[in-house]
Symmetry: C2
Subunit: 233 residues, 2 copies
């Protein structure tokens, strides 16, 4: 009988924001898998590190951060094959996922490769989106408000249109797009309603009005915009 | 010195999806607060019940589910006053919040009343949104896709426009709006791309293609729509 692949959300960075289920699965794991920047660190592993048993075998997927997709896809092909080999032996595999596995996460690449042939269970995690809202003390959405989540690389014209038509906006993966986004919000008169957060819940978290945020931003940074005046009262 | 108010996300329903931080705060709490349907159950308390100390004092906010907002706001006024009295005595208060406190959650009503005068810390939780995506095995959003979160009560015309212009759509609080939503998705040719989930991660979770979902739906139900064909490969 084949093992089960667990896609386990780790939350935004503070290890105490792991769920109890994630903690149980990781601390009991025989085989772990996680992505790492090619030749570098794995943020996922670092979040979970204090809970990883010494005895666990680890499948590291070195994912190159290139614009072309083929090299990253090859890394997931290789990782999926290594995971499949363990599952076929009847071993369960716990895959470590930053945030939530299905919210802009790379676990979907493994899921697409393995879910047809193997049992896959998703353990949802706290997203950086709500962690950022908590860090700056800004409710994301209330009542019948529409919330739009926009990736930072989106083209400026489309981004502007999305921001105009939403009550609340979360812009993820800000990174080198900070200047573009700030210019859009300034043009729309929304700069004072925009907050900036980087590395939420990690030791080096920073948060400030977007107007004060220095470029360039790290990849793990986010901008939140609310347009209503105290909509939650 | 005043105590701290903790707004603690409990996740979607499975007690094991509490974060370790939520577990620590609840199991060590001297004073708890939570909303309940007037004269009825508190879902928040039921999620956390196995971790609540016998010695904890409990502030119950009976929130009437009426269309007018004044009765609910009066309940939060009264709850906020009771919480403030504890904080003034130097007691910390742990407020139990379904899902995440700042993602369509009622904690924002307490936050608006208390955050100016008291220390408030938000502990983010797993949202029902990502829990539902995990339950049905559907990644919510990938790469540069735009994700739109729409409350079910939104007017049909606006809802249709939002669905048309998004890559991925989550419709929350479906409840008695199921028929309206299904008709819109059918008209747009998106019915086969829509999934329905109710009470995700609870013992009585149900999930199915939206086409099969029986009306009326409970309040805690959700519809997920993805438009891309395997966008995550």
């Amino acid at each position: 009988m084949s093992g089960t692949l667990y896609g386990v959300g780790l939350g935004p960075g503070d290890p105490e924001l792991l769920t109890m289920k994630a903690h149980r699965l990781i601390s009991g794991a025989g085989v772990l898998a996680y992505p790492a920047l090619a030749g570098g660190e794995s943020l996922a592993r670092s979040i979970a590190s204090e809970f990883i048993p010494n005895t666990a075998r680890e499948i590291v997927m070195d994912v190159p951060m290139t614009v072309e997709r083929a090299p990253a896809q090859a890394a997931y092909d290789k990782g999926a094959a290594a995971i499949a080999a363990e599952l076929q032996k009847g071993e369960d595999v716990v895959c470590l996922c930053e945030g939530d596995p299905f919210f802009y996460g790379s676990f979907m690449y493994l899921f697409a490769r393995l879910a047809t042939d193997y049992q896959v269970e998703i353990v949802p995690g706290v997203t950086s989106m709500t962690a950022c809202a908590g860090a700056i003390g800004m409710p994301l959405a209330a009542r019948n408000e529409v919330l739009t989540v926009i990736p930072g690389p989106l083209a400026a014209a489309e981004m502007e249109e999305r921001i105009v038509s939403s009550d609340s906006v979360v812009i993820m993966k800000v990174g080198r797009h900070l200047g573009k986004i700030r210019a859009i919000l300034e043009r729309l008169g929304l700069l004072e309603r925009a907050s900036y957060v980087e590395r939420a819940t990690l030791g080096n978290e920073r948060r400030m009005p977007l107007a004060d945020a220095p470029a360039p931003a790290p990849y793990f940074s986010m901008i939140l915009v609310t347009k209503g005046a105290d909509p939650w009262l």
